[in-house]
């Protein structure tokens, strides 16, 4: 079949080409009669029944181009004095009706340009004549030819043909008649036996119909009023009387596309009424609505929103009509109605950005819709739409959206995975908008909605690890948005979060507890800034105990994390408790740190770094009394002495000195003890390994750190320098990585002493390096 089509088209095109050639040749020799004969033959190819609609179109366009040449010749003839009526008459001698009519239209178009006779007279005459062609395909195209040739010869307002040639009403009338006829023929097209193929073939030709509508919209004389009173009613008439869904859909789309949005705004009621009540049930009304809403939203946003709102209540019009569709017993699928609701919500959010009442109303409609359905109706597509529905308002509206009571009603129709998606979107919206969470009621609702993330619900489904981490981190981030100038409320809100976190399991608490803990730290500092706790619930005691409890839970599975959190806890207490009121409590926390370090940290490398952090933190503390602190720091020092490697032990004990000598404490004796111990440990190892001299150099530098504040025996230091000088040559012998390190540090140390000597710092004058 397909190859046959190709052959038929090829053959026809060949004939057209041939006859066109002869026609042109005749025209050059001014032999009009011959030219007409050849053009007739050419036009006869359009009588064919063999071609598919698309191929007929191709042939038509080829003929159309050739007819331009003839048209031009007719114009020339007129200028040379040929009488138009004569020409008009002579072309009617063509034997066959198709060529005759094509020629008539061509002459007619030129005739109109002469102004010898009114445009409307000729146009109406032509319309009458072409009625003769009732074959759907051929009739369609001859009317298309008519449109193309005559579209610039219409008696439009302000055109050269206005006046005796007619007026805008006539122009409208002519196009409407053409459109109506073309539509009827289009609907009657037979084409293939296969229904869907037939539909496709029809759609291939839709632009021929559409051009009528476009031409209407281009008429100068079609003002808003004319459109409203004359044009639109007629188009609607054509649409509704046809009862063909393809035609109805296409013509609605054309009309919406062709005419300006201002016009649609003013005729919206009419348009919507037609869509909802007068179209065939199989027409996809939702797409028309969505198309309209999209255009009007764009229009509203690009123009004065005031006019948009004041002149016509767009929202209500759409709402009424959409609700009508929802409530009617029409066969519109659930899925389509949901699509429509989502599009309507999107439209409303764009055009009425802060109107939560509208959103709630749409929510209510959607709920009503969902209530009527069976469980099985909620397909994947429908679920996706409900998720969209719940998430969209959050991008533009505040968290108050969550207090709308219809919200949870929609959630319950979703399975776990989808509820989780909504929860994630809610968190993301809240975080991206930097929303402040300061209201108890809203917090309650928020926590309800993100429940899929907080606890393991009944229909829980396993999630890949990286996705789980991401979702929990979202939850953790949300906690930090809690804020209220009234710290009692601030606390209550935080407590609501923590209560939920406690119901999650340890895999969630790994993320949520640290966030809660740091949020509590911040709260504590705010309380301190305000002069201390104002209510019982915000007492230091209560909050401290709570934090301790949370860290304890983490300790079981994540001892290292718990240790670091405890260190930060100490720093927090340090900023809050200037008066050492919670001395015992802080001491307990410090002891807990040492216990975790000792009993639960296995990796020796990790221990070294952690111990440094412990000592750094202890060195900052001012919230622990003298005796307690001495015990604590002593314990830390002992831990240093128990590290795995000798060099780590020596350095650790050396670093411990900082705990005893800093801003808060100046215990020179302890410092001296640390150094003595460090040297002792170092001495135990230097014998076997000359490279151990590195440790000695580090210790020497530390001596110089305390040099001007703590008194050391000169001999002690010189002893260290002596050992260094002894072991250095051997240590540097093989020039490897370690040797290089030693050399660099030693050079730096010597420079340091030289510089300080140069600055005449007393203590250094005696140092021989």
């Amino acid at each position: 079949m397909e190859e046959d089509q190709e052959k038929y088209l090829e053959d026809a095109r060949k004939v057209v080409k041939e006859q066109a050639y002869f026609m042109r040749a005749s025209l050059e020799k001014a032999q009009l009669k011959d030219a007409l004969r050849y053009s007739s033959a050419m036009l006869s190819e359009l009588k064919t029944s063999l071609l598919s609609p698309r191929n007929y179109y191709i042939l038509f366009m080829q003929v159309f181009d050739e007819m331009r040449i003839l048209e031009n010749y007719f114009k020339e003839e007129y200028r040379r004095g040929r009488k138009m009526p004569d020409l008009y008459e002579s072309v009617q001698h063509a034997t066959y009706v198709i060529p005759r009519l094509y020629l008539l239209i061509t002459v007619g178009s030129v005739f109109i340009q002469t102004h010898e006779i009114g445009a409307k007279v000729i146009l109406l005459d032509l319309l009458e004549c072409i009625k003769a062609i009732q074959h759907p395909l051929r009739g369609l195209f001859i009317r298309y030819y008519f449109l193309k040739l005559c579209k610039d010869r219409l008696p439009d307002t302000g055109s050269e043909y206005e006046g005796t040639g007619g007026n805008i009403d006539d122009a409208i009338e002519i196009i409407i008649r053409n459109l109506s006829e073309m539509n009827k023929l289009w609907i009657r097209m037979q084409g293939s036996k296969d229904k869907s193929k037939r539909e496709r073939e029809r759609l291939d030709l839709k632009v021929t119909i559409g051009e009528n509508v476009t031409r209407l919209s281009n008429l100068e004389g079609v003002s808003l009023d004319t459109y409203k009173t004359k044009v639109l009613p007629k188009i609607i008439d054509i649409i509704t009387s046809s009862k063909d869904p393809i035609s109805q859909t296409y013509l609605m789309d054309c009309t919406i596309q062709a005419f300006p949005d201002e016009y649609h705004l003013q005729t919206l009621q009419e348009l919507l009424k037609v869509c909802t009540t007068q179209l065939e049930p199989t027409v996809d009304i939702k797409n028309i609505f969505i198309n309209l809403m999209g255009r009007l939203a764009d229009f509203a946003l690009n123009n004065d929103m005031g006019t948009f709102n004041s002149e016509v209540d767009i929202y209500s019009m759409f709402k009424q009509n959409i609700d009508k569709m929802l409530d009617s017993n029409s066969q519109i699928e659930f899925k389509n109605l949901l699509d429509l609701q989502v599009a309507f919500l999107n439209f409303t959010l764009r055009c009425y950005p802060s109107n939560s009442e509208y959103v709630n109303d749409i929510l209510k409609s959607c709920c009503r819709l969902c209530e009527r359905q069976n469980e099985t109706d909620f397909t994947e597509e429908c679920q996706k739409n409900i998720v969209k529905f719940l998430a969209m308002p959050l991008d533009t509206m505040s968290l108050s959206i969550l207090t709308m009571n219809e919200y949870p009603n929609l959630m319950k129709h979703l399975p776990f995975q989808k509820r989780r998606q909504v929860a994630i979107k809610i968190c993301q919206a809240v975080i991206n908008l930097n929303q402040v969470i300061d209201d108890l009621k809203i917090t309650g609702e928020l926590l309800k909605f993100i429940q899929p993330l907080l606890i393991t619900q009944n229909d829980y489904v396993e999630i890949p690890e990286n996705e789980f981490e991401e979702e929990q981190q979202l939850v953790a981030r949300t906690v930090h948005l809690v804020q209220n100038a009234d710290l009692a409320i601030h606390n209550t809100i935080l407590q609501q979060f923590i209560a939920r976190f406690q119901q999650g399991e340890i895999n969630r608490q790994k993320y949520t507890y640290p966030a809660a803990i740091f949020a509590l730290f911040r709260l504590l500092q705010l309380i301190a800034t305000q002069g201390g706790p104002q209510t019982q619930e915000t007492s230091y005691n209560l909050l401290f105990e709570q934090i301790r409890g949370l860290i304890d839970v983490l300790q079981g599975h994540f001892p290292e994390l718990a240790l670091k959190l405890n260190l930060n806890f100490l720093l927090c207490i340090n900023t809050v408790d200037q008066a050492k009121e919670f001395d015992e409590f802080s001491y307990d926390i410090g002891t807990q740190v040492i216990t975790i370090f000792q009993d639960e940290i296995g990796d020796s490398n990790v221990k070294v770094v952690l111990l440094n952090q412990i000592m750094s933190t202890f060195a900052k503390l001012n919230c622990i009394s003298g005796e307690n602190f001495d015990t604590l720091a002593g314990n830390a020092t002992q831990q240093a002495a128990k590290l795995l490697k000798k060099n780590e032990q020596a350095i650790g004990v050396m670093n411990a000195a900082h705990m005893f000598f800093n801003e808060n404490i100046k215990n020179a004796q302890r410092v001296q003890e640390c150094f003595k111990k460090a040297i002792k440990i170092a001495n135990q190892s230097i014998g076997n390994n000359p490279k151990f001299v590195y440790v000695f150099i580090q210790i020497l530098n530390k001596y110089f750190y305390f040099f001007e504040q703590v008194e050391f025996k000169e001999a002690e230091i010189q002893e260290v320098i002596k050992i260094i000088n002894e072991k250095l040559p051997k240590a540097l012998q093989d020039n490897d990585e370690q040797s290089k390190k030693i050399k660099i540090l030693w050079t730096a140390t010597q420079e340091l002493v030289k510089e300080r000597k140069r600055r005449s710092i007393q203590a250094y004058q005696q140092i021989n390096i």
Partner: protein, 191 residues
């Protein structure tokens, strides 16, 4: 001759760190988020403790040369503890700082800098922005870009921008205390 070169526009580096998202903060302050967009700087030096993969990925979009070191709350095993970066005549060392005792102490940090044979040490951990000169070397701390808990009474969000010239670095200190404030300091290369 050197002056002629110094007049030219130099390469820019962003010094940033201690985000601690999500444990201590939800996001960067919006005023900073607006400033930190891709292709404005040639280098990013991050002191560590970013806190999550999404923010780390975002950080890497800011420039083609992102250098990141491990903070005390970074769990990934792939991140190095220290890094050395050479830019023109400047040798930079990058370390989070929780490894050093006492934390944030200039003299101890200086010893570390000397061991790295660097001209500039970039370090974090304290959550307080600071530009220090010790002997002929420089220690830069961008503070915490989110202003998360840092063990001090108050935590102010901050970061640094470095403009590299041949013998000079222009430091811009961005802090957020109500409004965004920018302080300037000049570092001269001394060997």
């Amino acid at each position: 001759m050197a002056d002629e070169y110094d007049e030219e526009f130099g390469e820019l580096g962003l010094v940033i760190g201690d985000f601690n998202i999500p444990s201590r903060a939800s996001e960067l302050p919006p005023q900073f988020k607006d400033l930190l967009v891709p292709n404005k700087v040639q280098y990013v030096f991050c002191t560590g403790n970013v806190g999550n993969r999404e923010t780390t990925d975002w950080l890497k979009t800011l420039s083609g040369n992102t250098h990141l070191v491990k903070g005390d709350f970074d769990e990934s095993k792939d991140i190095p503890e220290t890094k050395i970066i050479q830019i023109g005549s400047w040798k930079l060392a990058l370390v989070h700082g929780h490894q050093i005792v006492p934390a944030g102490d200039n003299e101890s940090l200086y010893t570390f800098l000397k061991e790295m044979e660097a001209d500039v040490l970039i370090t974090g951990y304290t959550g307080v922005a600071k530009v220090s000169t010790v002997e002929k070397k420089y220690i830069l701390n961008p503070g915490s870009v989110t202003g998360g808990f840092n063990g001090q009474q108050k935590s102010i969000p901050s970061f640094l921008i470095l403009e590299f010239k041949k013998e000079k670095i222009q430091v811009f200190i961005y802090t957020l205390d109500g409004d965004v404030k920018i302080d300037k300091q000049e570092l001269l290369l001394q060997k």
